[in-house]
């Protein structure tokens, strides 16, 4: 659980300004939803926190220190797709996190150390409800189960911050609401800081303790690329008045099928 500080971050690709003047402070334990129109730079923003891309200007500080210029185990991630390794079984997908940390040359754990790590993996799989599927390959899992596996993988590293890039975008409504329950539960029990990019406004308000919208407040019709998106709304969801109006969790959609 860590705090994240974004100081005057800009992102430009050549003459094209994607993001400008992003200032944001996320206290430890926040669950922030990022929403905004397509192409407004939400995912670019997430990639900069991840270290996959670098800001053109400004700083991103995790617990007061600039984040490394590449992805690392302190920042976990779940993408919309392709987050899990197709060549490893479910439990091996979780185990690999332990193996990479413990065996720097072979990347494989053997003997007692492996048994101990497997014990922890089983506990993680139980948390996300995949215990029965431990020995299957990801291709035999449904989309929702693959995403749960990706979450378990990320939890294995106990990251300071968990980044979710439209994690439930490809799921059907019933599975989606189950995943919401799961993520909310994991967030509470593991005391994590979470940043989630989503297209689903309802999801953003349901899960987040804070909803942030990105948009382009300024536009030059002759040079549309010269103004980037920035934070246009920053809505705290733990405000008592807003909380009173916070939508109730939807009934399980599987009832209607």
């Amino acid at each position: 659980m860590s705090e994240l500080l974004i100081r005057n971050v800009w992102k430009e690709y050549g003459a094209q300004i994607v993001l400008e003047r992003i200032n944001l402070h996320l206290p430890a334990g926040s669950f922030v939803s990022l929403v905004g129109p397509s192409g407004c730079g939400k995912t670019t923003f997430l990639r900069m926190i991840l270290g996959q891309e670098q800001p053109t200007r400004g700083d991103i500080l995790l617990d007061g220190k600039p984040i490394p210029r590449e992805p690392g185990p302190d920042r976990g991630v779940v993408f919309q797709r392709y987050s899990v390794f197709p060549h490893l079984t479910v439990i091996e997908n979780v185990l690999i996190g332990f193996e990479l940390a413990a065996a720097s040359f072979s990347g494989v754990l053997r003997g007692l150390a492996r048994e101990e790590a497997l014990e922890q993996c089983r506990a993680l799989l139980a948390q996300v409800g995949l215990s029965e599927h431990a020995d299957k390959f990801p291709r035999a899992l449904s989309g929702g189960m693959q995403q749960r596996l990706a979450i378990a993988q990320a939890l294995a590293k106990n990251p300071k911050i968990l980044l979710l890039d439209e994690p439930f975008g490809a799921l059907d409504p019933g599975t989606k609401s189950q995943m919401h329950e799961l993520v909310r539960h994991l967030w509470k029990t593991n005391a994590m800081t979470i940043v989630m990019v989503t297209h689903d406004i309802r999801e953003a308000f349901e899960l987040g303790t804070r909803v942030i919208t990105f948009d382009r407040p300024r536009r030059d019709p002759h040079a549309p690329e010269r103004y980037g998106a920035t934070i246009t709304y920053d809505i705290p969801m733990n405000d008592p008045i807003i909380s009173a109006h916070k939508p109730q969790p939807r009934p399980d959609a599987s009832l209607f099928q």
């Binding site: 976990g76 991630v77 993408f79 987050s83 390794f85 990347g107 291709r139």
Partner: protein
Amino acid sequence: MRRIMNVNPDRVTKLVLGLAPIGLVILLYVMMSHERLLLNPADKLMPSLASMGDAIVRYAFTADARTGDVLLWKDTGASLIRLFQGLAISVCAALAVGLLLGVIPLIRAGFAPLISIVSVVPPMALLPILFIIFGLGEVSKIALIVIGLAPFLMRDLTHHVQSIPVEQFIKAQTLGASTWQYIVRVALPQTLPKLIQSTRLSLGPAWLFLISAEAIAAESGLGYRIFLVRRYLAMDVIIPYVIWITLIAFISDLLLGALSRKLYPWAHDEEPST
């Protein structure tokens, strides 16, 4: 009436449809050979099945009077050893180069242009150079196979390694993977089934280069024998040899496919057996 493109054959129909053209080709050959032999019993161009049978007995089951070797097996052994050595060297080199180029952008920037250029050099044009450098022995034949296959396999595998989704590349790093660990735990295992696939596709060219090299300078080998007996228009030997080579190539392709399905069930379309 359904559209013809919607009509799928069942198992039996598929088998019959598949075997029919093969049977037809054999039948056509037998008829034409029979016609020619009626006109001229000494005709060599289309020998009867019986004379091919005689040739098979002579070459596959009788020791050669001069050397005491059974020629078909000696030739098969010589060719397969060359083929296997050439393939093994090409595949190992391609795997190492493909992983390094696919994963590390600096190495890719350095070597990808060279490999692209080398892979379009026609290998047969290099054969004289190989003979000059390595002599007429085994090395130049194996070298021809390697030169023919390795650059193609290197490009192919580099491409496969690069096409692993970027999500997995990032995910592995968030799980703590170093460059080396990404190579051995993510890139390598996902490349191996592709390697088998590419090797299957390379079998044809590998045989092409092998037989070419044997035809020009060798003392044994399937290609050598075919080109040797060509001098006597010995079609009764050439045809069984060609069928034998085809059979070996066909079976090695099937074996590689089965190996891949057994070792890498996750990479194939069928449901994995878990």
